[in-house]
């Protein structure tokens, strides 16, 4: 109970910071960019169907939401350490686990809230042009997207327990890009490469999260209808499992780590 309160306090602080500092403006800029691009698609493709708009919009949504969750979760610990806030917080009845959980929850929920805004814009623009998919597919896609943000946020936070904010964000972003762009073909590449290179690729295939499993964009765009619930639930469980693993790694990285104000 007390721990939950600590988690809520830390997460709430992440939100307040986001709103009172420049971050909220970043969101409006991103939204404007999204609208601009989608409007551009409209202009160039007068007769084009809704799926072009939705396709472009969802791609941008994924990129933006990834950027948000990585920057939000990557900077938290280092900022608290250089300001000395971490000492004030942890000298109170707030365990390191609750502190980390609060930071993750704050970063994830904030990135998710922004992502929902993006989805509303994209779905709205799609609907204006005739729509692509029903609410069930959108709901499934958003839930898996949320799980993907959970993974990236947790892993970035884990990196941030041991690295500078810049390094954690860079690696977190790299992980997200690799998770999407390379993971789907990694198995095939490993078989093709063979030898030690193949072994490395095979290891990566199993050791890194397959974010592509959480991406239902094609199903939304091409109106394939809802995913069967079994595989969908399995994907969701996969996302939650990786998020839990990321949080566990963060806790292991932070549990006993000496804290220091110079941030080195």
């Amino acid at each position: 109970m007390r721990a939950m309160r600590g988690v809520a306090m830390v997460a709430g602080t992440v939100w307040v910071e986001g709103f009172r500092r420049k971050d909220a403006y970043v969101l409006w800029v991103l939204l404007a960019a999204l609208l601009g691009v989608l409007a551009g698609v409209e202009v160039y493709g007068l007769a084009r169907p809704a799926r072009y708009v939705v396709d472009a919009g969802l791609l941008i949504t994924w990129v933006f939401s990834g950027v948000l969750v990585v920057t939000l979760s990557g900077r938290q610990i280092a900022a608290d350490e250089t300001s000395g806030m971490v000492f004030a917080l942890l000298s109170k009845p707030l365990g390191r686990g609750a502190y980390l959980a609060g930071k993750w929850l704050g970063a994830w929920s904030m990135a998710l809230a922004a992502t929902l805004l993006f989805y509303a814009v994209v779905a709205g623009m799609g609907a204006v042009r005739g729509g692509v998919s029903g609410p069930a597919v959108w709901g499934q896609a958003i839930a898996l997207h949320a799980a993907a943000l959970g993974i990236v946020g947790a892993l970035t936070l884990a990196l941030a327990t041991r690295l500078t904010a810049g390094a954690a964000m860079t690696l977190g972003a790299l992980l997200a890009v690799v998770g999407f762009a390379l993971m789907p073909t990694l198995g095939a590449r490993a078989a093709e490469a063979g030898g030690p290179a193949g072994a490395v690729l095979t290891a990566a295939h199993f050791a890194l999260p397959h974010l592509e499993l959480l991406d239902l964009r094609r199903r939304v765009v091409h109106a394939w209808g809802p995913s069967p619930w079994g595989p969908w639930l399995a994907s969701l469980a996969y996302g939650i499992g990786w998020t839990a693993l990321g949080l566990l790694l963060a806790w292991l990285g932070f549990r006993r780590r000496p804290l220091r104000q110079d941030g080195s």
């Binding site: 007390r2 309160r5 600590g6 306090m9 709430g12 602080t13 307040v16 910071e17 009172r20 500092r21 300001s83 000395g84 806030m85 000492f87 004030a88 917080l89 942890l90 000298s91 109170k92 009845p93 707030l94 365990g95 006993r256 000496p258 804290l259 104000q261």
Partner: protein, 247 residues
Amino acid sequence: MTNAIEIDSLGVTFRSRRGGEVRALDGVDLAVAPGRIVGFLGPNGAGKTTTLQVVLGFLAPTRGTARVLGLPAQAPEARERVGYLPERARWYPFLTGRELLVGFGRLFGLSRRAAADRAAALLAEVGLADAADRRLGAYSRGMAQRFGLAQALVQEPDLLILDEPTSGLDPLGRMAVRAIIQRQRARGAAVFFSSHELSEVERVCDEVAILVRGRVRVRGRAADLARPGESLEQCFLRVVEAAEAGT
């Protein structure tokens, strides 16, 4: 009665990534009795902050032990009863003093109402009632330091640990800090604080401990440590010089 702080042959060695070693603490022995005000003196880099951070469980000792209110320093239960003012803290600039204090009160399990009442009382106690709803980022250095005292007192701690509480304060602010520290002792709390303001320490402390190069060289009542006719400042210089010549 168990001591508020009990430190035995405490050693802390920092290892840099390049393989260098800094022996910050080299066998510190120290005790703070309940209801006492103990000043912790020492030149820059002596290891005062490092000692306090071990006592608060932020650092694990390389050697030796630290106990707080009869509990191991790392024990979560100790956090319930210890108040801490960190050295050089920059409070969340985007929150108001009141908001952050309410948040801290919630960490101690206070209801929203109780936390708000406590925050108001604390802000008044440290003379920040007028600035309660201003952002912490707009506080002056002295105001931030007063806020730091307020946030260390949220739960009326049994042990108050202050890292340079008077640094950056004008004479009025220093008087206010002295009054707060003395009120805490009157309540029965132990106070352990590091400082470079020797006259301040002389005025308020029951005991002092002088740390030089990671070791407590002398401890006891200021009046007993100083030779006849010697001020605490002269005593401090003598102890530091002797210790530096010896090691």
